[in-house]
Symmetry: C2
Subunit: 345 residues, 2 copies
């Protein structure tokens, strides 16, 4: 486990979505976060006290979390320099980038000299099997999206909380670096070798014999040309009984790709159902989660109502309005006496 409390890194970022790992920790493990480290050219904030490595160390921080993401997940020179400062202060460093901290000799030798640790959260375990697609027992729900970074992790965690409040056993299954940092466990799916994508998810959410739910964090989108392979393998490995579609209505094009429009929500849901049916013939959608952070509350509520009506599903902004409508509908669809995935095939 990665020792807290954490100093969350924003660095020089001006990309609201790029800091999603830091933001996720601030949202779901706020008690473990002492402060945020941002440079003068960073216009973003998580609402935490601003401090650099020295101040954070003095306040008791034990790990700098490099919670920023860029396409390709590479370490930049600025990141390395700031990480070296934190190490010099006696702090561990954690990151979820594709490029590993341990592959930078400067970080490795500095960490060894300071007696601190480097945590590469995006390291999949070595013994992941090839997926087998065998039908397995248990209730599983997967969040899917119109695009990357539209709130799938938030929706999954909010739904977990709503189910737990209802006395239902619900486990969050993390598939990305932020989720893994929040849960303390999971599979960094986008770093798994391509042949093992579905097998990794079969391992992450194995058969379960109770009435509880595995809530699996989705990744990417079937409509994102860079990452749809990951989303496809995730759908097949998850064997979901239920899907929740996640969407950011403020997005004007696919993330990072100005030349790609977002899919229509109904088309996106239909495509996900079609792909999921290969391993889970009775899969159904149970809700829509919108990220309405850029709308005022009235507009957000109207959009949720209209979207829900159009798709015939409960629709909410889980982070803003909670997940009750989706949790209630899920439990109505899958009452404990009729387990979702053990229906006759």
């Amino acid at each position: 486990m990665i020792p807290g409390p954490f100093l969350l890194y924003l660095g020089h970022s001006d990309d609201d979505v790029g800091i999603k790992t830091s933001r996720g920790l601030a949202a779901f493990r706020r008690d473990d976060c002492l402060g945020e480290w941002r440079h003068d050219d960073c216009p973003l904030t998580l609402g935490l006290p601003r401090m650099d490595a020295a101040a954070a160390r003095a306040a008791g921080a034990r790990t700098l979390v490099l919670g920023i993401a860029n396409a390709g997940g590479r370490l930049g020179e600025a990141l390395v320099q700031d990480a070296l400062q934190a190490i010099a202060q006696g702090m561990n460093v954690a990151a979820g980038l594709h490029q590993r901290l341990r592959d930078d000799p400067r970080l490795v030798s500095a960490a060894a000299a300071a007696g601190v640790e480097l945590f590469d959260v995006r390291d999949p375990r070595a013994d992941i099997p090839v997926g087998n697609g065998k039908r397995r027992a248990g209730n599983r729900l997967l969040t899917v999206g119109t695009d990357c970074s539209v709130g799938k992790m938030y929706a999954t965690l909010a739904l977990r909380d709503a189910l737990q409040r209802r006395g239902v056993v619900a486990d969050f299954r993390a598939t990305g670096q932020t989720g893994i940092l929040i849960a303390g466990d999971g599979v960094p799916l986008d770093a798994v070798v391509a042949d093992f994508i579905s097998g990794a998810i079969e391992t992450l959410a194995p058969a379960r014999g109770d009435d509880g739910w595995d809530l699996i964090e989705g990744q990417g989108s079937l409509f994102h040309p860079s990452f749809a392979g990951v989303s496809t393998g995730l759908l097949h490995g998850a064997q979901p009984a239920a899907l929740v579609l996640c969407h950011d209505p403020s997005r004007t094009h696919m993330r990072g790709l100005p030349h790609y429009d977002l899919p229509d929500l109904a088309e996106c849901l239909a495509a996900n159902i079609q792909v999921a049916r290969l391993t889970s013939p009775y899969v159904r959608a149970v809700g829509v989660a919108l990220n309405t952070v850029k709308l005022d509350e009235d507009a957000a509520r109207r959009l949720c109502a209209a979207t829900g009506d159009a798709l015939g599903l409960p629709c909410t902004d889980p982070y803003r309005f909670g997940s009750d409508p989706i949790a209630d509908w899920l439990l109505q669809c899958y009452a404990p006496s009729t387990p979702a995935t053990t229906a006759s095939a």
Copy 2:
């Protein structure tokens, strides 16, 4: 480059499909293959002289090719022992398994002592970018399949030969270990990290400004629960103008998965077209390739005719009857004066 001539390994295999790498080399680089090494419990043959490592070395073989595949691509103890024998004879060893030769200390030290090399063909290069989906110039064709190992590589190579005989520039783009061993270059797609599947193919088949064709070897199947993520990323990265559907009519279930039926051909083609349209809106199917090795010639010809009629496409067994019908139809669809992928978007 891997030094020939080769000794092809069949080992203890009794799985006709499992020896596909050895078989592919025997078919497409026969002049470079001196013999086959099979144990007494191996009922298979490539029609090459049977010899062990010592005999092959005496005959001039320079590299043992461990051309057998198993799900997960692991090195077994029998493979390691036989590889050690070949090394002791002074031969290099090449393999395309997920588990690397260089990760077995016994092989590494034996190779160093003998002054020979270990070739891990399934090592992707380190600098693969994330895919960007940007429309790029050039004619590209991708083979897709109802299942794994149904003849996509054979169909691609046979089509290359048919196009080249017509004076058309046609380049084979290898995506699997067998194809890479045949072509001497390519991307071992199933070993690429999941986030980079489509980017790897964009790099393998970049924009081209002539009237020639990149013929890209397909992998897996959208309907194989273990590997559909790879197939999806491959479709998106390839931006194919044209698809050829490959199928083995003798297959009774999805490879390795007795609990999964093969998809209907029309359904499979429609799903591939749908996924491919994300990055190549005008993609079309131009042919069907059947692997009829288990049928007599009359039955094979009747099946090709019936399948072609049912799907409205030229259909052939490329390895048995050649690829002329598909090559002719492709060139009729995409005459040099109307480049396939530069049509107005």
